[in-house]
Subunit: 300 residues, 2 copies
Amino acid sequence: MAKETVGFIGLGIMGAPMAGHLLRGGHPLVAFNRTASKIAALVTQGAQAGNSARDVAARSDVVVSMVADSPDVEHVYLATDGVLSGARQGTLFIDMSTISPAVAVRIGKVAAQQGCPMLDAPVSGGDVGARNASLSIMVGGAPEVFERARPILELMGKPILCGPSGAGQTVKACNQTVTALHILAMAEALTLASEAGADPAIVLKVLGGGYAQSRILDVRGPRVLQRDFAPGFKARLHRKDLRIALETASAAGCSLPGASLVASLFDALLKQGGGELDHSALIMIIQSLSARRPAAPCDG
Amino acid sequence: MAKETVGFIGLGIMGAPMAGHLLRGGHPLVAFNRTASKIAALVTQGAQAGNSARDVAARSDVVVSMVADSPDVEHVYLATDGVLSGARQGTLFIDMSTISPAVAVRIGKVAAQQGCPMLDAPVSGGDVGARNASLSIMVGGAPEVFERARPILELMGKPILCGPSGAGQTVKACNQTVTALHILAMAEALTLASEAGADPAIVLKVLGGGYAQSRILDVRGPRVLQRDFAPGFKARLHRKDLRIALETASAAGCSLPGASLVASLFDALLKQGGGELDHSALIMIIQSLSARRPAAPCDG
């Protein structure tokens, strides 16, 4: 049986390698991106070029989207030349962007009214995970829709059904809350160590072997010691994800004082021009709070 | 060659099993504790009973102390009937309590003036680590003193030389800063999940397999889901350790906004009577910030 044709919208640092895995998995692929040069790169790998989100949807059995933020996803699906204006009934939509759970639920409802099942399926694992097809994929939606999507998702990583529509985005918001506080923990510990006269490299070694261990300390700690803030995961995107987490918390009636604090500290980093650096550059803000040195501009 | 006689001061939930390991390691042991019944338990294992810190020091080649806080250590070493009033020149002091790095340095200087080398050697790993002789031991002091102490320390866990006098306590303060923020991260993520309608158990599973992983999520997360707040590590002791971290930071001229926030939240937990619960009970404070439920007294 011929494999389903996949329309892929959003060919950035994440989307391009993910689309490549679907192509190599045997799926005919119709690719679209606002910047046309990125479509050409996929065409050389065997994809067909789409002219618009609408055009992609009209030519596909499954539409996968991987764009930046909630308004981008709304535009891709709901605009005049968007996915919903072109899709046949029964076309499966998989949005892998990280957006607001509430927006994911709303677009999913509009899609359902048109007879198109939809999953929210944000990922973690970064550009490395995208290239290695080792992404963690947090999926919200109906179980039978998840089963239909599973072979496609497994070409890009490890899908886990988290609950109904929006649950994938909610779990992603939890994930980004935790990583934000782990980044802050690392920043404060390494700053305390160096300011109080202990060797930060020894702190990393001791903490990594005990109850204070985290994946972020293991992976990012050594690079922070080298002042290597090449992303990785950009500070401005983590700030965006914290906005989603805080808005989701607020809508649910709960407060996240730690996530709020890290959001404010990321704001300071962004104001100093550090938004394109890895999120671990947050340590520069903690260091700038030290009385021993004046607030330093981001020189990473 | 006969093994050195060790005087052990402080036979609490940590000290008692640590002293037991030294006894079974072949060291004659003189035990002292303010509560005499705890001395008797060690005597049944073969220890001799000491009458005071001074008496213990006079009868020992090495003094190990494991008490609660900076003032306790000052009393044990500097009081009229304290260790320094009884020790011979050359007696080795190892303080394994978690106290202020500044106090550790100060007592170390007084000891040095009397010809007694001293190490600060706080531990992590809790009562389980103490019983299993698997503690991480963060040591500050001179390298040759560390080498002299190493065989004794290795009977209780894994010693790591962190730097000069006080460095062990500074690294411990970094450790407690990180674990405090990891506890907060877990509390906020699990609260967001349940309030926003996602399954906290799935959040733990997904986060533990990715970039958000931490030892605390792995070890404590499942118990938090069961509302099991039996310590473990008591909230009031973590609050004490954060006071040390914040005072050390302040003295070094740096600010730790995250550690300050967690300290305030622990204060709220303590005020509600949760000080004897595991530090992961901090989630009750985050939950009490939710608009959906009134602030609940600690019922764990």
